[in-house]
């Protein structure tokens, strides 16, 4: 059947903010879907709350609404737009859940909106554990023995029948939130209780654990004509027991016989047909390594993280075709976009191995529990392609950017055998490295197999890598050995280390002996058909398929895996840079390694190199392509960090020069420049030793802000209040030395201002000035940003503009820059100048209509800002107020303190926009997942230093009818203000204590500010975590609380008895 003509207007639902378990893959899927529908001539309406995405670009759909993804707001849009159909299967779990809710609410029926793609019935059958199990039984497909429970007691009773270990899976949660592997009753009680709470339907599935089985995934597609195919299968190196999002995965499967492959293929197709899915679907299976027995673990009736990976791994665009199927196309009517000659109804054949490695946030959260289980913890992932498993695996390892260039820790391993065993048995994020280290220590395969249950095939491949290390060490500068090592994926860095040489010596040796990679095409068909896909990976073989064209080219470095501090915003900027380069008439070449993103869609650039972003891998591409220059300022710190090594190798860095970038990043040079420009900054100095740090801090006076230089996302940044804490910080957080200095600044409280600007060296364009709700001290990425500013006088604004222009010219910025200011006692100080694209670029671009990355790129390429129609200065501000609200994934990361501070913790962001700040905030907070009820209770537990300020909040909460709860000291302060309050005791105190309040959900909000001192600090931490665990909004910044109050005051009415003293407006003085 060709496309449907009975529908014209389609509403597409996006996936909202980036959170753990739902990341950039849905930007890629959603963007592809919208484009596919537009191509077909449909009118596409998009709703998504996430401003940082390509998907929410104006050009992606006919009309884009950046609004909260709630029934309320989507219903408004349905009423306004009256679409014929709604497509929810590309918006992740958020999209699916919303579709279910919308349907239940009746709005779809009321307006005759058809749910396109997979129908509701199928979604529920796949998502509802009980329905799913029933279906599997009907189909005769095996599922592990399991039961649905709604109480802890039911769980205990069932486990009596099937025994431990068991897996707990809460129903309808993302990325396995709240679930886990359970070995005993104590764990069961804790995890089931938490899981029931997390589940929106208060259900948990208790399942017999099949940990140790091979975990195999099939990505399948089906059309309305019941034709179904497998796009790709994947094998998790980590066996069942670790969430697939946290597993190292290879594609295609490596250890399955054809018989096993077909058994699982048949099951997957049977299931997708039985569910009646129209579009993409993911089936997860567990296969016994010692028989052909298998179980079906889970089905995701939508495109997913795995389907993004499968699309990039094979070249087969699952999301695009899912969208086409949703509007009636059949697979055999759609061209395979890779070959352009064959059709979509075939199964890709790979002639390479793909490895995916998750990127975890543990480098930022050293306190987080690193153990991996059924609850996903990774924020992003990398993918690598190679012709051998070693090559694929090692390329993936060095793509993760966690200081690894090989299966080897940066520091020599210093743990006991017992500790090592523990690391091997209980997997954490570094297990694969420990496996390698164990081989180096002489552990044998069987021993390691028994401890890890990683298939011997993979263990052997790792063992081979270790064996080759020895050969390299022994043979030294031997051409054949080094060629062999390169074929196995060894980096120059590792070879240099083995040969105790410098990386430049290895480079020179390779050049001398012509050991360099060639590039092969990803073509979906193992070269069977001629293809035109400009999608390549490097490998050490004979034939190079990627020949440079006649056209002048520009290379763009992407930003690698999504991590806290370097999120999807940088992919957004990268994509726009690429587009701008093409518009400017150059060939745009991109290197990136993140399979989730839009930038690694091969249709975005003229050429995509799916390669690690290390100096070596980037130089190989440069040597092959010989671009006229490289743009590094859009790929976050990843790309920026490569700049000096690139320039050292004679590569032309386009845009702001390395020297100027260094002036902004190097503290001393920065200070000198600012002095010259006569712009004040908080007093501060660089320390290269602990004693120096102490001296500087004493000179400046506490509190001070300390941080290592050259970081993004405020890693290891802290506000320190006394010398003791400073010493602790120096010991714990940084390795201070000449090469890695630590910056110590005076901590100025005040309003934080953020400015993004574009400069071509002459003209400086400021699209907008943003104001942060939270005062300086809270990382800008974790603050609510408001545009246009609400509380800044015209005079200060003028000064901000003046400073920005002086800074842009002073630092000779060519391209983008981002500046953070603080207004302390009506004086403006510069906190930071970042000579690159920033987190706020997409937000600001969207609300101002100025495509900053595009304009900046063209400026970099020589098209002056004047010729692009701009003049120096700040653009006029609009009437609408927009806010950017951070979104956190604390529920996924146990034992991480949620207190906001100078270190960034949020994973994503949403936007709210309306005619007043309060309305915009309301939308922003709602979109970020906050539930705002108009009545209820609020629990105050406030540090002494904040008590005075908190009283104003307490009074306002009381005024809107909220019941106040507070701990003793805080309660006393509130009582002193004549506000009624209920005292709750501290943790461990008599009932009602704080934990009771939290556990019973007796408070809607908790306002908690950070207290110093051991016991109280621990209690504070406990309270904050318990709040997260129980889904209670916990605010740690008075400013956020104040913003929330403003919203609540907007949506509630006050009830004041007559005749009482009420706040008065300022009288008019004549």
């Amino acid at each position: 059947m060709p496309k449907r003509t009975d529908i014209q207007k389609i509403l597409v639902i996006g996936s909202g903010p980036i959170i753990i378990g739902q990341a950039a893959e849905f930007d890629y899927a959603g963007t592809q879907a919208c484009q596919a529908l537009m191509e077909e001539g449909y009118e596409v309406i998009l709703i998504n709350s996430n401003p940082a995405t390509i998907m929410t670009d104006e050009s992606v759909a006919d009309r884009v609404y950046i609004e909260p993804l709630t029934v309320d707001f989507v219903s408004r849009i349905i009423r306004q737009e009256q679409p014929d159909g709604i497509l929810a299967t590309l918006g992740g779990q958020t999209g699916l859940n919303l579709a279910v809710e919308l349907s239940k609410s009746g709005i779809l029926d009321e307006y005759g909106v058809e749910l396109l793609g997979t129908n509701l019935d199928a979604i529920q059958k796949a998502e509802d554990r009980e329905l799913f199990r029933t279906l599997m039984n009907e189909l005769n497909e095996p599922v592990p023995p399991s039961d649905i429970v709604t109480t802890v007691e039911q769980a205990l009773a069932f486990v009596k029948e099937i025994g431990y270990p068991i897996i707990v899976r809460p129903a309808y949660t993302l990325g396995g939130t709240g679930g886990g592997l359970v070995y005993n009753e104590e764990q069961l009680r804790e995890i089931v209780a938490g899981g029931l709470h997390q589940s929106p339907v208060n259900q948990c599935l208790i399942e017999k654990s099949i940990a140790g089985f091979k975990e195999i995934e099939y990505e399948v597609m089906r059309d309305g004509n019941d034709q179904a195919i497998v796009v790709c299968n994947m094998e998790n190196i980590d066996p069942v027991g670790i969430h697939t999002g946290d597993s190292i995965v290879v594609a295609p499967s490596q250890t399955l016989t054809d018989r096993e492959y077909q058994i699982l293929r048949n099951s997957s197709l049977k299931i997708i047909r039985a569910l009646g899915i129209e579009g993409g679907c993911n089936v997860q299976c567990a296969l016994d390594p010692y028989s052909e027995n298998y179980f079906i673990i889970e089905v995701n009736p939508r495109v997913s993280r795995s389907s993004a990976l499968a699309s990039k791994a094979t070249g087969y665009p699952i999301a695009k075709l899912s969208a086409k199927i949703a509007v009636g196309y059949r697979l055999d009517e759609c061209k395979n976009p890779v070959t352009q000659t064959t059709y979509a109804s075939f199964e890709p054949a790979l002639d390479y191995v793909v490895t995916k490695i998750p990127r975890w946030p543990f480098d930022k959260f050293d306190s987080a529990n690193r153990k991996l289980g059924t609850q996903m913890k990774a924020t992003g992932e990398v993918m690598a392609i190679g012709r051998t498993l070693g090559e694929s695996l090692l390329k993936a390892i060095r793509s993760t950017e966690v200081d690894l260039s090989h299966l080897r820790f940066a520091k020599p391993l210093d743990i006991s055998h017992e500790e090592l065993r523990q690391k091997l048995v209980h997997a954490d994020d570094e297990r694969l490295i420990y496996v390698a280290e164990a081989f180096r220590l002489g552990y044998d395969m069987e021993e390691l197999y028994n401890m890890t249950k990683i298939d011997r095939y993979f263990l052997y491949e790792i063992k081979q890598i270790i064996a080759l290390e020895k050969v390299v060490e022994e043979n030294g500068w031997n051409v054949d050995t080094i060629r062999e090592a390169k074929k196995y994926g060894f980096s120059d860095t590792e070879i240099a280390q083995l040969l105790r040489a410098d990386i430049r010596e290895v480079e020179a040796f390779r050049t001398e002996h012509n050991i360099k990679p060639v590039y092969k095409m990803v073509d979906t068909c193992a070269a069977e058909f001629a293809s035109e896909t400009p999608y390549y990976y490097g490998t050490y073989e004979d034939e190079n398929e990627s020949l440079p064209t006649e056209k002048q080219s520009v290379l763009v470095l992407g930003s690698g895996p999504i991590r806290i501090g370097q999120g999807i915003e940088f992919d957004y900027a990268t994509v726009h840079t690429v587009k701008a380069i093409r518009e400017a008439g150059y060939e745009a070449i991109i290197i990136n390694n993140n399979p989730e993103t839009v930038s690694t869609d091969f249709q975005i650039s003229d050429k995509l190199y799916f390669e690690p972003l290390t100096i070596e891998d980037v130089m190989h591409v440069i040597e092959n392509e010989k671009p006229m220059g490289v743009i590094v300022q859009f790929g976050g710190q990843t790309a920026l960090n490569l700049a000096s090594d690139l320039e050292e190798r004679g590569v032309n860095i386009l845009g702001t020069t390395l020297e100027n970038m260094d002036r902004a990043e190097n503290r001393d040079k920065f200070e000198q420049t600012l002095m010259k420009l006569e712009i004040p900054q908080p007093e501060g100095k660089t320390a290269t030793s602990v004693s120096e740090a102490v001296a500087i801090a004493n000179g400046i006076g506490y509190p001070v802000l300390v941080r290592p230089s050259y970081v993004l996302g405020g890693r290891a940044m802290e506000i320190v209040y006394n010398e003791q804490d400073l010493l602790k910080y120096m010991d714990r957080a940084v390795k201070v030395n000449e090469k890695h200095p630590v910056l110590i600044d005076r901590y100025l409280t005040g309003k934080e201002i953020e400015v993004d600007a574009i400069s071509d060296g002459e003209t400086v364009v400021i699209p907008g000035i943003m104001e942060h709700i939270e005062r300086a001290g809270v990382h800008s990425g974790d603050s609510i940003a408001v545009y246009p500013t609400q509380n800044i006088s015209e005079a200060l604004k003028k000064q901000l503009i003046d400073y920005t222009i002086r800074l842009a010219t002073g630092f000779q910025i060519k391209g983008l820059m981002n500046i953070q200011f603080v207004i302390h006692r009506n004086e403006i100080y510069v906190l930071e100048v970042n000579p690159r694209s920033s987190r706020t670029v997409p937000f600001l671009s969207k609300i101002t209509g100025v495509n900053m990355a595009n304009i900046a790129t063209k400026a970099i390429l020589g098209l002056s800002l004047q010729s692009q129609g701009f003049q120096t200065g700040c653009l006029p501000e609009p009437e609408l107020v927009s806010v950017k609200v951070p979104v956190f994934s604390f529920a996924k990361l146990r034992s991480v303190d949620i207190t906001l501070g100078p270190e960034m913790k949020s994973t994503g962001e949403v936007m709210g926009r309306d005619y007043t700040l309060e309305k915009a905030l309301y939308k922003g907070l709602i979109a970020s997942g906050m539930k705002i009820s108009t009545h209820g209770s609020v629990l105050f537990t406030i540090a002494d230093k904040d008590k005075e300020e908190a009283m104003n909040l307490a009074r306002r909460f009381h005024r809107i009818g909220y019941h106040l709860l507070a701990t003793e000291g805080t309660a006393k302060a509130i009582q002193d203000e004549n506000i009624p309050v209920t005292v709750v005791s501290k943790i461990g105190g008599e009932s009602p204590n704080m934990l009771d309040v939290i556990e019973k959900g007796q408070a809607q909000f908790i306002i908690n500010t950070l207290t110093k001192g051991k016991q109280v600090a621990r209690d504070g931490f406990r309270i904050r975590r318990e709040a997260v665990e129980h889904g209670i909004v916990c605010l740690t910044s008075m400013d956020t609380a104040e913003a929330l109050l403003r919203v609540m005051e907007l949506i509630t009415f006050s009830a004041e008895p007559m005749g009482q003293e009420t706040p008065r407006k300022k009288g008019i003085t004549v």
Partner: protein, 364 residues
């Protein structure tokens, strides 16, 4: 040990030897399947060919005792990017290298198999030889250019004697041109009594068995190399329902007056989409053939096209308009490959039923 793959066009690939050290010639073909190397290597249709696996890692799950498609493999060589030295699977009992050595089959690993595949795609299949590093290359090339493609593969791989797989249902004669075990397995699973006969069994000899149906098996090489087989099929059309698979399909076409031609590089792999023109249903199929039925040649025959390849539009299935005979170019038995087309065995079953009905009416 260093080994070379020399091609008739003068291209030389250097790699490492696996399996036998013997030197053998063959037509170099490629298979794009990502699993099923054991089935491929033992598939008699590859008789005389040197098979390149495009998937780079081969031998990962070893060789087991079950997954053979014939007792004695007939490939002349195997080309892989990397042969696993340490297979991992509970059914594995040999490595790839050990198995190749056991059957004296030469192999080569460590070459750029993608380059080779692209070369075959551009040039068509090429004759080649896996030889030692010190071979006289000019002589090898001259020799390769000179030697014709073999024509006797069917006789090599077909059974020499008749044998029966007992069953309780209809009797099916399976003419073995190099049958894969998978076909026998599927027929046995249907409950048939399967009488396997050599390729050169005459029509009269087959009539003596009084079969209820005939299956023409797959097999190696050019169907025109076995004219006597074509003749036998021609005689039997109309008498008993016939189901042809792969070479059997080409023989049925030729027997009905159609033509076959050699393809540039054939279809070999597990991902070929085939559309049933009668239902629109698309099956992902396993294929292994270097010849194809020429569509235009069907014009003056009693044949109609039932299936086509979605990618290149080539004929994948035909049916006799009057008589009970049909055939497909691909492998409904899979092994290796997807099992989407197993319904064809049911179709054959229906044909047998219809034949019985027709006979009943005729006899009444």
């Amino acid at each position: 040990m260093k080994r070379l793959l020399v091609l008739e066009n003068g291209e030389i690939f250097e790699g490492k030897g696996i399996g036998s050290e013997r030197e053998r010639d063959g037509e170099v073909v490629f298979n794009t399947g990502m699993t099923g190397y054991q089935e491929v290597m033992s598939d008699p249709s590859y008789c005389g060919q040197i098979v390149t696996m495009t998937y780079p890692l081969i031998g990962n799950y070893g060789i087991n005792r079950d997954d053979f498609e014939s007792i004695i493999p007939n490939i002349h060589g195997l080309i892989v990017k990397e042969a696993s030295a340490y297979p991992s699977h509970f059914r594995s009992n040999l490595t790839l290298d050990e198995w190749l050595k056991h059957f004296d089959i030469p192999g080569i690993q460590g070459i750029d198999t993608r380059k080779l595949t692209r070369m075959i795609r551009e040039n068509g299949t090429l004759k080649g030889r896996i030889c030692s590093a010190d071979a006289n290359i000019d002589e090898v090339i001259a020799h390769l250019k000179e030697i014709p493609f073999p024509t006797d593969q069917v006789a090599t791989v077909s059974t020499k004697t008749r044998f029966v797989n007992p069953g309780s249902k209809e009797r099916v004669v399976l003419i073995d041109y190099g049958v894969k075990k998978g076909i026998v397995k599927n027929l046995v699973a249907e409950g048939y009594e399967v009488m396997v006969v050599p390729h050169n069994t005459t029509a009269d000899e087959i009539r003596l068995f009084q079969p209820d149906g005939i299956v023409l098996s797959n097999g190696p090489g050019d169907p025109k190399d076995v004219p006597e087989c074509i003749e036998t099929v021609r005689e039997l059309i109309g008498e008993v329902p016939i189901f042809g698979i792969c070479l059997g399909h080409q023989l049925l076409a030729l027997a009905c007056g159609a033509e076959t031609v050699k393809m540039k590089f054939g279809h070999r792999g597990s991902n070929h989409p085939v559309k049933d023109l009668r239902t629109g249903y698309i099956a992902i199929t396993a294929q292994n053939h270097g010849y194809t039925v020429e569509p235009i040649s069907l014009i003056d025959t009693e044949l109609e096209i039932t299936h086509i390849n979605v990618n290149d539009g080539s004929i994948e299935g035909i049916r006799h308009k009057e008589e009970l005979a049909f055939s497909v170019q691909y492998h409904p038995e899979a092994s290796p490959g997807p099992e989407d087309a197993q319904g064809l065995f049911k179709e054959f079953r229906e044909m047998l039923n219809e034949h019985a009905t027709r006979k009943g009416i005729y006899n009444a």
